[in-house]
Symmetry: C2
């Protein structure tokens, strides 16, 4: 143990595994906390987050140097769940040359003329890269179902397609890790109200969000089904209690570090003898 940085983490013995969705088990979001601190002191948690974030930056550099595998990060949440602030806090310090965030909105005409995985496939990270999806193909199995945008026959098959797709990605070198930012309906109300109260946040408020809010329970149910059916060892879902930002950031960063450490990316060995090269 000659590395200095992991020590404070080891001391707090922080474990992300309780937040995973177990593959193959019936799953309900109702059983998961929206507010949690893992028994940690806030300041200690923030310190740990910073150390982990530095480690993430180093691991990303190794992934980039190795250029053999990719990491796909999927972020889903209800409105005001904190996706944007998570991206900023967790991926802000990562070298943007090797990490791309892609937000998916309502598909355009060209995208609708193809299968729903067409645009998603296009934006996948290539070898050496981290790709982060702010919303994703999961909306084609969740939102489409809740809002009846397609018949049940169509959306119910998509869970299978998505499992096949992520299996193929894993086989071909892309690891996937998925986060559902979990908040309560009451917390969403607070956050939406804040957007109304602060003129500098008005741009984030969308009247259509209230229609989605009215379908809260349907979304929770459909997300529960889909998360339960699409969490696998090679592409797990984590349900992140998202009402405490510092804990949310810590947990997500811990999962990313654990995932990348398991991938263990290594820069390629030099194909020259550096001691034999003289730079004049």
């Amino acid at each position: 143990m000659t590395e200095a940085s992991p020590a404070p983490l080891a001391k707090i013995e922080f474990d992300a595994r309780p937040y995973i969705v177990n593959p193959g088990k019936r799953f309900s979001l109702h059983d998961r906390a929206t507010r949690d601190d893992g028994g940690l002191d806030k300041q200690l948690g923030k310190d740990a987050f910073e150390l982990l974030r530095d480690r993430l930056v180093d691991l990303q550099e190794n992934l980039y140097a190795e250029q053999k595998r990719a990491l796909l990060v999927v972020l889903q949440a209800m409105d005001a769940g904190g996706k944007d602030s998570t991206l900023k806090a967790v991926f802000g310090p990562v070298d943007p040359a090797g990490c791309r965030v892609k937000g998916f909105k309502k598909p355009n005409d060209e995208e609708l003329a193809h299968d729903y995985l067409w645009r998603v496939h296009h934006w996948l990270p290539k070898r050496g890269y981290i790709g982060v999806f702010n919303r994703s193909h999961y909306e084609d199995a969740v939102t489409v179902a809740v809002k009846s945008l397609a018949p049940k026959k169509v959306w119910s098959r998509r869970v299978g397609h998505i499992n096949d797709f992520e299996r193929m990605l894993a086989d071909e070198g892309t690891t996937t890790v998925k986060f559902f930012l979990h908040i309560s309906k009451g917390y969403q109300k607070e956050r939406l109200q804040r957007r109304l109260d602060r003129p500098d946040k008005h741009w984030k408020f969308n009247v259509a969000d209230l229609d989605e809010r009215a379908r809260w329970e349907q979304y929770q149910e459909r997300y529960s089904e889909v998360l339960g059916q699409t969490s696998h060892k090679h592409a797990p879902w984590y349900v992140v209690p998202a009402e405490r930002r510092w804990y949310r950031n810590l947990l997500i960063t811990k999962v990313l570090v654990d995932t990348l450490e398991a991938m263990d990316p290594r820069p390629p060995k030099a194909d020259f003898d550096p001691s034999a090269i003289v730079i004049e």
Copy 2:
């Protein structure tokens, strides 16, 4: 029976089904003819081809007008199997605004940095279109195996990925039909020799084709495996005896017409009453 055009076809009672690869059965290309005329007179066959080709043009127009589903046509063959001349004969008369041919060559650096289905997915036809692949993702399971461009662990999984992928496409509105242009090793020799003998065909000759030719049996074996494992009702393989061009063209066009007739594309009903509109 008031339609005049199908009559001569009915008379010759031409059936493409014997050329299909039966799903789930062990399959070997050795059991299939490379030279065949289906017991047809050549002139009658050519006449039938022209009628079918006209029918194909009409069906494509309906597919385009309907704008709901797509047809993917995959063409594979050994070198000098006749892919280019097939494309010209069969798809030449189809409206190019609704039919796109995409040839896949050796993947470039950007393509190699993604999974092998990435570039294929990108070029899929959108709703209303026919997309024709001159070579395809099947080379990632065949050529890569024969030439050991990746470990067996990697290429052997790809048959499963491809089945999943084509299943998803079928669920989402794209029908796939696949043709293997089947020739003998002796016929290939003749065709390659012809490229050497005729200066105007030299551009089609590639010395590397001789390396591929040296692996003839390995290719036949691997194609046999892959065709047998990836032929399904929603995405069947047809093994086309390709040494007689007129018969090859007739057979492929017949399959395309049968496939599109089963899809039965219909232009949308007008959302206006044409008799109520006066153009002054």
